[in-house]
Amino acid sequence: MTCDIVPLLPLGIVGFGAIILMLLAAFEKIHLEVAAVFSMGVFALAFVMQLLPAGPDNLAPYTALFHGMLVTNEFTKVAALIILACGFFTAMSSTSYFRLNSFCTLEFYCLMIFATFGMLLLTMAHELITVFISLEIVSLSIYVLVGYNRKSVTSAEAVLKYLMLGAFAGAFFTMGAALIYGAVKSTGFEAIASFIAAKGLVQSPALLAGVFFILFALMFKIAAFPFHAWVVDVYDGASVPVTGFMATALKTAIFAVLANFLILDVGLKDFWLDGLFYITVFTLFAGNLIAIGQNSLKRMLAASGIVHTGYLLIAVIAVSSNTISGHIILFYLAAYAASTLGIFAALSYLGGKDEQRSTFDDFKGLAKVRPYSAAAITIFLLSMAGIPPTAGFMGKLYIITTAFQAGQTTLAVLGIVSSILSMWYYLRLIISMYFHEATDPFEIVGSPFAPVCTLILAACVFAISLFPIAI
């Protein structure tokens, strides 16, 4: 029950940074790109702080802070690192995007940092009310970010859809929390775990329903089937940097919560195994089939995000109470984040004004005109499809190997099948880029930040694949 300051430092830096930027924005004293660099600095500083060793208790399963409301361990630490890196690269590539699209104001970056603050809190939350509050911090910031382009109708439509369905899911979460409190007389994860260990899950209908509702709310946030339908429209409506940020950082945070919640008790997970199994299978295939039908790149990437959720769910199912499988979830999240952010960074400078280039056909012949950009995008796509030697391949390899080890042979095989299916739409873009003549000159105006960001992320895709983790 120590209250060590070091694990909270990144959280403090991010929160403080957001407030300073907010104050500066009130007086409109700084330029937009200065704000972008400022937020990059905040993320980078927090990232470095996050790397600091979190005290001698590090070897225990987790270190409790604030009487168990927050915990930190290696898992939350790495999840936070991924989120901060996502924030950094989003801020970096957004500068190029906002040179072409002029709807940005300083508050954009404030909201992004606030959202990151919520996400960091979310990874560490170990108590239902804390989870709810941080979830709302994230959601509210993201709602505004999705609808930031007020002149765009699709953007407005997206934010409304997201808000309504998000409220629907949020209601279930609070309902679930209330039911659990009714049963356990506490909202702390620790207490829930000891309650289940003592009395069993099935004995208390209120607890059962509560956990059920909470899982449902989390499934909505990660866009698992059948709660996935919003994701395509919302990703399509949001602007490119926001979509990239949502797809990566948000997903990382929610998966951290989900993993923390599910490993509370071995019985808890085993109980949901059947349900999760079907959800996973349908998530994999629904995502793939939706992606096959799309013509717009952003919609395709949104749908492919559903598929990646499916893979992560395989890993969640294969998580046993040992902490090792957590590495696999994080590895996959990092690999996925690097490639997804990479594509969105590339889109933010290649998309052109008002995102005029958005379909597969718009990128015909890119390789002839911009060979390096096309090569980088190809690397990201191959990583998402799981082709060696990229990070995506290693991630899938680890996930499928653990699934086999956990006895989930069906899931492992279906995972491989789905990975083959996903080639359809990933290769489609590569074909457009490489096997057609260019009609578009693909002129790039804007800051060099986004191209540099793409380059770094392309290197990351290979670097992450070399990072060794033990299965």
Binding site: L165, I290, A291, G293, W424, P468
Partner: protein, 637 residues
């Protein structure tokens, strides 16, 4: 006791970093502002020279240790770990790898320096040096890898680099095809290597898959497994080191720039096979039968390629076949469990073959890329440095007594006799005579007599200093390298053999002094016969010959390429067309199209389900929730 030394990891890293930096510089500047050749040249030479210094450090460090403990290693990181397969990216130096390291980095440094002069004016100067550095880096990974898997990285890497460099002048399709050929033929060998590695892992890999563990567990293997593993690994070696049946790529590899040929033939790539066999000596020494197969393959390759070498008219092809032939000797050596003799020949060969190739490069450079020896002649006055250095190289190659090649070749032949293989010895002596003949045929035709093409002759000029200095240094090496392993009969101490002893599982056959004298005598006689015939025929000018009968057959390398084409390439292509024109459209295409149609249809359905109305999405969620509740209630019962 194993010593740990992090700088081992630096050795391959340096050239790889060099390759990356030069490559990036070249990529970023090739279209806009060209960097000067001097910049690239200096950048490129840093890595090889530094690695050479490190190689000396490795040698000194090992030397400082007691004989049994001469091992240093460094584990960079765990590369991957799946099931029992736990592979570390680790580097390992023992006397064997340190010797390889020394001459590889030494010759490579000289070749890099020489290339600055030879490649001057090339359009893609930077690209060339990036490849050259990469080549060296891969070779160093191969030599320093602490187990077969890491070695395989380098093994494949040098294959890739050879492809890139052989087809370097890619405007000419023939060069690209030569690169393809080298790559594809090597792949066949690689398959053998991979299979051998897999069998080895299957048998004893579970308890450690690096050389030290493998050596410790080798006694657990049945002799059938060892034979199988050794044969498969040897198939890999025949690919890399150009032995029967996979030697066909090496002569074509002459399509690359001459320094590349020198690098491939002297320091990297082709020596890999011999090194690998010596590295696995703890396995090969257990199965003498396989060793005999290796030795006979080697000596027959030596014979066949020496025959080809006698009839070639391209200066580089003569040298190429001489390499194949000398590699044959090396395999004869390692096959007969005379590993140190084989490796010693690799060592001396590196000096004189690099020298000969660089000399040939100097001639070609002087004659504006003329390679036909029948158009040369009398160049001795025009290119004095090249002449004298090449003469030393030729004497070493031909096995003239005080020169390095004599000692190493003689060692192998003597051991062939001592281990009771007179057949191998006899062929070896014959090949020695033929070597002397074709080497001096080349020297006489190029440097002696009168010019055959006056125009070319008049424009010939000696190469710049940056090219001649490496020649002179290598000539010194070719002269004296043999002294290092002077056999006892000449009062020497066999320094190299003793140095290598801890790394190798060697047999030391006992033989009388008479045998040794017989072996030496026969080699010397063969050398003199060979050189005399060459002098008689070509010493004072000769006309372009017209080959008939056997000579024509040998000139066309026994039509082996055509035979392979007929037996392997064409059937393969036939299978390919059968698949293209029959199987794919008639048999497999239907089901594939059906599957795609099914998924496309399903995709359309799912796309339609994305109606875009929030109420519908909410209904999906409610339906999903209901179904999950149903499932839950079912499982509660």
């Amino acid at each position: 006791m194993e010593q740990s030394a992090a700088y081992l990891g630096l050795i391959p890293l340096l050239p790889l970093a060099g390759a990356t930096i030069i490559g990036l510089l070249h990529l970023s500047s090739c279209q806009t502002c060209k960097l000067s050749e001097r910049t690239y040249g200096i950048l490129a030479c840093i890595a090889p020279i530094l690695t050479f210094l490190f190689a000396i450090k490795v040698f000194l460090d090992l030397h400082g240790l007691p004989v049994e403990a001469r091992q240093i290693s460094y584990q960079a990181f765990t590369w991957f770990k799946v099931g029992e397969l736990d592979i570390a990216m680790g580097f390992f130096a023992d006397p064997l790898s340190s010797l390889m390291l020394l001459f590889v980095t030494f010759t490579a440094s000289l070749i890099h320096i020489y290339s600055i002069g030879y490649m001057a004016g090339d359009q893609t100067f930077g690209k060339f040096f990036a490849y050259l550095n990469l080549f060296l880096g891969m070779m160093l990974i191969l030599v320093l890898g602490n187990g077969p898997v890491v070695m395989f990285v380098g093994w494949e890497g040098v294959g890739l680099c050879s492809y890139l460099l052989i087809s370097y002048y890619s405007e000419d399709r023939a060069n690209v095809l030569a690169g393809n050929k080298a790559f594809i033929v090597n792949r066949i060998g690689d398959l053998g290597f991979v299979l051998g590695m897999a069998f080895l892992f299957w048998a004893i890999g579970g308890s450690g898959f690096d050389y030290i563990s493998l050596k410790a567990n080798a006694h657990l293997l049945s002799s059938t497994t060892i034979s199988l593993v050794c044969l498969l690994l040897f198939l890999g070696a025949t690919g890399k080191s150009a032995q029967i049946p996979l030697y066909v790529w090496l002569p074509d590899a002459m399509a690359g720039p001459t320094p590349v040929s020198a690098l491939i033939h002297a320091a990297t790539m082709v020596t890999a096979g011999v090194y690998m066999v010596a590295r696995f000596s703890f396995l090969y020494s257990l199965v003498p039968t396989v060793g005999l197969i290796v030795a006979w393959t080697g000596i027959l390759t030596a014979l066949v390629s020496a025959i080809y070498g006698m009839y070639q008219d391209d200066i580089k092809k003569v040298l190429a076949y001489s390499t194949v032939s000398q590699l044959g000797y090396m395999f004869a050596g390692v096959g007969l469990a005379a590993y140190s003799a084989g490796i010693f020949h690799v060592f001396t060969h590196a000096f004189f073959k690099a020298l000969l190739f660089l000399g040939a490069g100097s001639v070609i450079y002087a004659l504006h890329h003329e390679q036909n020896i029948w158009k040369m002649g009398g160049l001795r006055t025009k290119l004095p440095i090249t002449y004298w250095t090449m003469l030393i190289g030729a004497l070493a190659l031909a096995g003239c007594p005080p020169f390095s090649g004599f000692f190493s070749k003689d060692e192998i032949l003597y051991l062939a006799l001592a281990t009771g293989n007179p057949g191998i010895w006899l062929i070896g002596v014959l090949v020695a005579g033929m070597t002397a003949y074709y080497t001096f045929r080349m020297i006489f035709l190029v440097f002696h007599g009168s010019p055959r093409d006056q125009g070319l002759f008049d424009h010939a000029h000696e190469a710049p200093t940056v090219m001649t200095v490496p020649l002179i240094i290598l000539a010194v090496g070719a002269l004296f390298a043999g002294v290092l392993n002077l056999p006892a009969i000449f009062g020497g101490g066999q320094v190299v053999s003793h140095w290598l002893a801890p790394s190798l599982a060697e047999l030391h056959p006992e033989a009388s002094h008479e045998t040794e004298i017989l072996a030496i005598g026969a080699s010397v006689v063969a050398f003199f016969i060979g050189i005399t015939i060459a002098y008689r025929k070509f010493g004072s000018g000769a006309e372009v010959p017209v080959f008939t009968g056997f000579a024509s057959f040998a000139y066309h390398t026994f039509r082996i390429n055509e035979l392979y084409d007929l037996l392997l390439v064409r059937p393969y292509k036939a299978i390919g067309s059968a698949i293209e024109y029959f199987f794919e459209p008639q048999v497999t295409d239907g089901p594939v199209q059906l599957t795609t149609w099914f998924y496309r249809a399903a995709g359309t359905v799912f796309k339609l389900l994305q109606v875009g109305y929030v109420r519908i999405y909410a209904i999906y969620m409610v339906i999903g929730l209901s179904l999950m509740s149903l499932l839950l209630s079912q499982s509660l019962k």
